[in-house]
Amino acid sequence: MVMALAPEIVLLAAAGAAMLVHLGRKHGGGRAAGFVALAGVAAAGLALAVAPRPAGGLFAGSFLPDAFAVYFKAVILIGGFLAIALSFRYFRHEGPEPGEAYYLILLAAVGMLFAVSAGDLITAYVAFETFAIPSYILTGFCRRDRRSPEAAVKYFFLGTLSSGVMLLGMALVFGLSGETNFAAAARILGGANEPLALTGMILFFAGLFFKLSLVPFHMWAPDVYEGAPVPIAVFLSTAPKAATFALLIRVAAGLFGRFEPQWTSIFGVLALATMFWGNLAALLQDNIKRMMAYSSIAHAGYIAVGLAAWGEPARTAVMFYLFVYVFMNAGAFGLILLWTKGPGFGEEVADLRGLVRSSPLAAASLVVILLSLTGIPPTAGFMGKYFLFQAAVGRKLYGLALAGALNSAISLFYYFRVGRAAFLEEPPPGEGRPPGSSRRPSPAVVALLSLCALALLVLGILPHLIADWAAAAR
């Protein structure tokens, strides 16, 4: 029975080991902790593949290690892996390497693994907080940059507020049903207590919407992603979103299953607002991190289209999109780490000028990643959008599908400002760059970017490799 918890236990053990390694060594402990963390994520992935999946779950159904959870755990581990790998590059330059960043990532990941398996209110809340708290700390890790601690404080205050709202929603659900288990509570909700149950649902969802940065719960995202260290922004924009969407799907389809007409319309409205707001605001940004922050808001909006068109195809579409999204986002944030600029990394779009000259491979990968973000074939991003819009059209939500399509076209404009800088523009000759800058792209980052690009191309041409898995994972 404990074996079903193997991935979580392995990851937790790795976090402990990384901490011991970090504290036990006088020099280079941070880096060593990083390697332990990376190995831990890989081992957890392995454990995930072999762990048994008892029907009915563990602990009276409060922990559900089903195929659905396994799928999302894989997505979370991939996000964590990419974030840790990018951290090596980031902290080597930013130094001194804080080892605690690595095990905080692992601890957050443990929380997320629990969250996607949550089968009752208590597990959900505890898991949610377990990954929220390390996220606040991780955001503030760039001590040199004043934006970083500021973002952490902002994230913390808004985050705890939203957790509180969520808890209130949970309390209402418990108060109405007298049950904490999703399935058991779902049988009692509705009927005479419908207005209160709906209130509980909306409050519960509000907490999740905050994590997903759906408009109008997105205020924190641009500041946090801009302020957080790049690898942490990668982590925060991918893994928690996958975990929260998984939890949202479980709660919406399981706990609040009978309110489907209500919540699909809520998601429809949020999807519209989020797509347009995210894309239009991104048009105005010059800072890649901030642009990508708005872009990930917009992508949450695309995914919300799938929830608004809920059904079998939509479920697969949402799951496929989240998988692809990890690679796109990690790749897009990773771009920043190619070159150093002074004590940090160049975050402006203009800093990428002339990339094609110093590394054609990196520039080619960049184009694939941008195409995928825009949703242009033959990349996985296109297939993701295709599945989502297909689901929307299947539900006769033509307006939502059209809005999504229109937004892809809008997003091209800002994504290709990055492509334009890398391919079509040259840095003005003799431009003074601060000391410590290097225009030699890091080979490790180039390798990671091309890996992401390759994954996006392969999944763009053979999407069923993952889509069939997602469809079967329930």
Binding site: V356, V367, I376, Q390, L412, R420, L424, D468
Partner: protein, 503 residues
């Protein structure tokens, strides 16, 4: 043998060859690119012996499951219409590659890689019969074109590149939603299954889906209110890019109407005839008038494309066999003559780095061969009898006449205006005294340059004098489309038999 797969992806294989050539070997890159596009042209010619012009059915069909869970197939096939366009594509890409030999001097490898990638997309569009596969190729082609304009273009290249990309992407995403709705009705993306089903979308839905496809195709054609990207893209693109843009990319729009809009949404197509015809007529007259005003040669030819593509659209939406055959043939003709005209301007630009008409004059005395080539192609564009443009325009006008003589009259006015701007351009550039001393030392066409024009000249005369083989392959497919869209063939108001075929 999967022959269509081979010709679609052969340029892709060529890309890998190019990438394998070490840095600094510019000449090897050029040679390899020319060999690849040359072989591709030969390969497409080899389709001819196995092609049966006597049927409207798709030939060389290849079918494989691609994304099973979504019902998306890898489905290729060609009929006479796509055959002509595939041949046009491979020929123009080859000539564009050849013409770039000296014109492109920096970032060679990237340039040819993008050119080959473009060819994959273009051929793919014309051979794919699964709507999603079609869409994938349709979009794939945008990226290399964006870079061709953006890297090797003129002064305002960045603006022109993103404008081209945004406009066309906007149209195509709307089309994507249309495709999804069509799928919702038929339960398949398979074009052959849709056209064979014998049922159509409900009339109300057809209207909307027609409009969604219309946005995708009309922006590409480009039809009148959507044409503003075209002058920018054509003028800023490098010569090869303009040739391919005008020669092939615009045809993808009209091809879309022929292949998808007309046979899949016949009721909506009939309903929108007045709108389409009015837009086409406006494009004919407006394009010609704006051409008259241009000071830049390339811009003049770009606007003349708006006018010529208006003819094609008029021919398609007259919905008579004669006009539609003329329109399909005119798609090829426009590729030949406008492609050649862009090459002709490119020759001058390479020598003088200006395209302003006022900078030239009296060139015919210095460059007699060039002048002759220019004259032939200008005449072909005007539609002089004996050359290709005449056959297409004449068939369109003839096919339109029984439907509505006013349309014919307005379009006829466009022909006259077309002669005016083209002849005036020729007169200002080639005749008169050689006033500008900078033009005095201009060399005539080199052998390589002449070689690029030779196939186009030959085709112009061939189609002009003996169009039968070209009309023969499009005969059956066009009739099949007309049978779907307008079974009565000619409108009941004028029940006389269609006029005899032009031979």
């Amino acid at each position: 043998m999967p022959y269509l797969t081979l010709i679609t992806f052969f340029p892709l294989a060529g890309i890998f060859v190019l990438l394998a050539i070490p840095r600094g070997r510019g000449k090897a890159v050029k040679v390899a690119a020319n060999v690849v596009t040359g072989l591709e042209f030969v390969a497409t010619l080899l389709l001819l012996p196995g092609f049966d012009p006597g049927t409207a059915e798709m030939q060389f069909v290849e079918r494989a499951s691609w994304i099973k869970s979504a019902g998306i197939q890898y489905l290729l096939g060609i009929d006479g219409i796509s055959l002509l366009l595939v041949l046009l594509t491979s020929l123009l890409t080859f000539l564009a590659t050849l013409s770039s030999w000296k014109a492109v001097t920096h970032r060679l490898k990237e340039y040819y890689v993008f050119l080959l990638l473009l060819e994959v997309g273009m051929v793919g569009v014309f051979v794919s019969l699964d709507l999603i596969l079609f869409y994938v190729f349709w979009e794939v082609m945008l990226v290399p074109m964006y870079f061709l304009i953006g890297v090797w273009g003129g002064e305002r290249k960045l603006y022109a590149a993103i404008k081209f990309f945004l406009y066309t992407l906007f149209g195509s995403v709307m089309m994507l939603i249309g495709i999804l709705v069509v799928h919702g009705h038929y339960g398949t993306f398979d074009w052959t299954a849709m056209t064979g089903a014998g049922t159509f979308l409900p009339a109300a839905l057809q209207t909307w889906v027609f409009l969604a496809f219309f946005l995708g195709f009309a922006i590409k054609v480009p039809m009148f209110p959507f044409h503003t990207w075209l002058p920018d893209a054509h003028v800023e693109a490098p010569t090869a890019g303009s040739v391919i843009l005008a020669g092939v990319l615009l045809k993808m729009g009209t091809y879309g109407f022929v292949r998808f809009s007309l046979p899949l949404f016949p009721q909506a197509s009939r309903k929108f005839v007045p709108l389409m015809v009015v837009l086409a007529l406006v494009a004919i007259i407006y394009g010609a008038l704006v051409s008259l005003m241009q000071k830049d040669m390339k811009k003049l030819i770009a606007y003349s494309s708006v006018s010529h593509m208006g003819f094609v659209m008029l021919g398609l939406f007259a919905l008579t066999p004669m006009a539609m055959k003329g329109a399909v043939l005119q798609m090829v003709n426009h590729g030949i003559s406008t492609g050649a005209l862009f090459l002709i301007v490119g020759v001058l630009y390479e020598r003088r780095h200006t395209r302003l008409i006022a900078d030239f004059g009296g060139l015919s005395s210095r460059m007699p061969v060039y002048a002759a080539v220019f004259l032939i192609m200008a005449m072909s564009s005007i539609g002089l009898p004996g050359l290709n443009g005449f056959i297409g325009e004449f068939m369109i006008l003839m096919g339109v006449f029984p439907v509505n003589w006013v349309w014919t009259a307005v379009a006829g006015l466009g022909v006259i205006l077309g002669a005016a701007y083209m002849l005036w351009l020729y007169q200002r550039a080639m005749f008169g005294p050689l006033n500008n001393p900078a033009n005095a030392p201009l060399p005539d066409l080199s052998a390589r340059e002449f070689l690029t024009f030779l196939p186009l000249i030959a085709l112009a005369f061939w189609i002009g004098l003996f169009p039968k083989p070209f009309l023969a392959v499009i005969d059956k497919p066009v009739e099949k489309i007309i049978r779907v869209v307008r079974p009565e063939t000619v409108p009941p108001a004028l029940p006389q038999a269609p006029p005899a075929e032009v031979r």
